[in-house]
Symmetry: C2
Subunit: 333 residues, 2 copies
């Protein structure tokens, strides 16, 4: 991995967010030349603290993926592009579907057109999401299960990955799509629950606020630690056999939502929770049980998650205990 990424010219869109910044840190350790693009979309994960340790090692360019002319400059000359930027809130996509369409449909197309025109040989790894499966029509969910998104975000992220696959087939652009499951770990936003609910709970526990669980918390979920996602992105960017492929990236084991909360409180050594009724706006887009089949990623990409839940949670609490004031607004922290 080091021999591949050393001195490699890499672009990360959404580079100051959760996945982007963790990826930047790893790529810096591997010796890559790194450019981060981020537009600091309000309510999203961009945070200067995320890249503090590599601030002098990376180039940061603040711009939107919807900015055609800026993106032309950003993609030119890059060897590998990790395309992670997007609108990421399920609930926001239902409140303002037009913003989601503008970013996750039109913005992805601005990005792809920039690549097609200015750097069609660039190796692209696109961060998609398990949200495209929505309430899955069958479980466990392999890559062949048809999309059934329950919110506009899930539809548009599917459109985004389909655009990538079409640009691969029609224009020869070497893309890989990773359908990422729920993630947690250092450098996620913890200010609100619109995405990354586990991270938000970490913030609640550390700021001595009670966790509220909607319903009985019996729905099964899987949680993947940041480092494991980063491994998947790096491996996808290396393997030629991953070109034109889609992979489910997530955990192999499921845990009940309520048990996740109990484990979190146990690891933290603090915190409490309560059960409350489902708010209607969440209930409408709730997807029920979810069990991910990651066999394809394991057998073809050689990737598996390797961080157990306790270890991941411990590292996450360690990070936020040290950096809490940079992730919570002053009036909460």
């Amino acid at each position: 991995m080091e021999s591949f990424y050393k001195n490699r010219n890499v672009l990360i869109t959404g580079g100051l967010g959760f996945l982007g910044s963790n990826l930047a840190l790893r790529l810096a350790a591997l010796g890559a030349e790194i450019t981060l693009v981020d537009t600091f979309l309000p309510g999203h994960g961009a945070n200067w603290r995320n890249i503090q340790e590599v601030r002098d090692r990376v180039s940061v360019n603040i711009c939107d993926i919807r900015d055609e002319h800026a993106m032309a400059r950003m993609v030119a000359g890059k060897q590998t592009i990790f395309h992670i930027a997007g609108q990421t809130s399920h609930t926001d996509s239902m409140v303002d579907p037009f913003l989601d369409i503008d970013i996750n449909c039109r913005g992805n197309m601005v990005f792809l057109e920039a690549v097609r025109k200015h750097n069609p040989a660039a190796r692209i790894v696109y961060a998609s999401t398990r949200a495209i499966y929505g309430a899955p029509v069958s479980v466990p969910v392999t890559e062949s299960v048809r999309p059934n998104a329950t919110d506009i975000y899930g539809v548009n992220k599917y459109a985004g990955e389909a655009y990538h696959m079409i640009y691969h087939r029609a224009h020869g652009i070497p893309v890989t799509v990773l359908r990422c499951s729920n993630g947690y770990g250092p450098r996620a936003q913890i200010e609100h629950p619109k995405f990354g609910i586990l991270n938000w709970f970490v913030g609640l526990v550390l700021s001595a606020q009670k966790i509220r669980i909607f319903g009985d918390g019996a729905q099964l979920r899987d949680y993947t630690y940041a480092d494991d996602f980063i491994n998947a992105f790096l491996m996808a960017g290396i393997k030629d056999s991953a070109i034109g492929q889609i992979y489910n990236i997530g955990a192999t084991s499921q845990i009940k939502f309520v048990d996740m909360v109990k484990k979190l409180i146990e690891i933290a050594g603090q915190g409490e929770y309560e059960l409350v009724p489902w708010p209607p706006e969440y209930k409408k887009i709730e997807v029920g049980d979810f069990a991910y089949d990651i066999t394809k990623a394991q057998t073809e990409l050689g990737w598996s998650p390797s961080t157990d839940f306790e270890t991941g949670l411990s590292k996450t609490f360690d990070y936020y205990r040290e950096n809490l004031q940079h992730y919570l607004p002053a009036d909460i922290a």
Copy 2:
């Protein structure tokens, strides 16, 4: 059917195009109150000749489905809305993906938001397309086969129907989605081959131009006559059991592309064809064989196509022989 639609307040978007105008004629015969919306998108099917026979029976409003304020007025007070307007060219969607996104993603959302805000009880029938299956991952193609669009149009039409289904589940809007296969018949545009290839061939034959078939013409296709589609729209709009459902609407029998052309020349009693190599821009988005499974529409909606190919072609030639000058530019006709 007459008792249901008589005096019913109906809106048709794309009302001056192929499907919209044929639907308007039938609804006029059934005694409905009809408003047609069309923006006369260049290169698309809107044509005043299409509605000549019912011009004094229908209200026509020229506006774009992307026009938020106009759409608010258009949907208000309607009982049934047949939502057919869209960008419909596969090849154009690859040349100008942004226009396709703007109409088929954002425009559909403008329409749905107008319905949600101003008339959420309106019964919606949305014209989707078999293009969402693209190069189908399995045949025959049931509604459960996962989408695999080969062009941006196919992706965005899928997004459009997924928006409709989400607005049904989350906001209770009573929608039905019809995935329409290849259509032919009177009132289609015949000026260019960007959509409705069979109709274009009819125009070529009548204007004494040779038909060119790409490749060997061995790919299987199905063709559905306009009247059969109109039956499907009308039945979908009546049945409560169709709410929240998606139906494949197409022919039960397949025909080789080259045999379709031979049949067309036979019925017309004139015309000739030649085989030519695939142009690369078409080859890239060609979907191969396609066989539609319409069992769901047959058993649940009670719909089947009833016009045989010879009869449909005869009626089509009859129409265009009488009206050719209204469908071909002067320099071709």
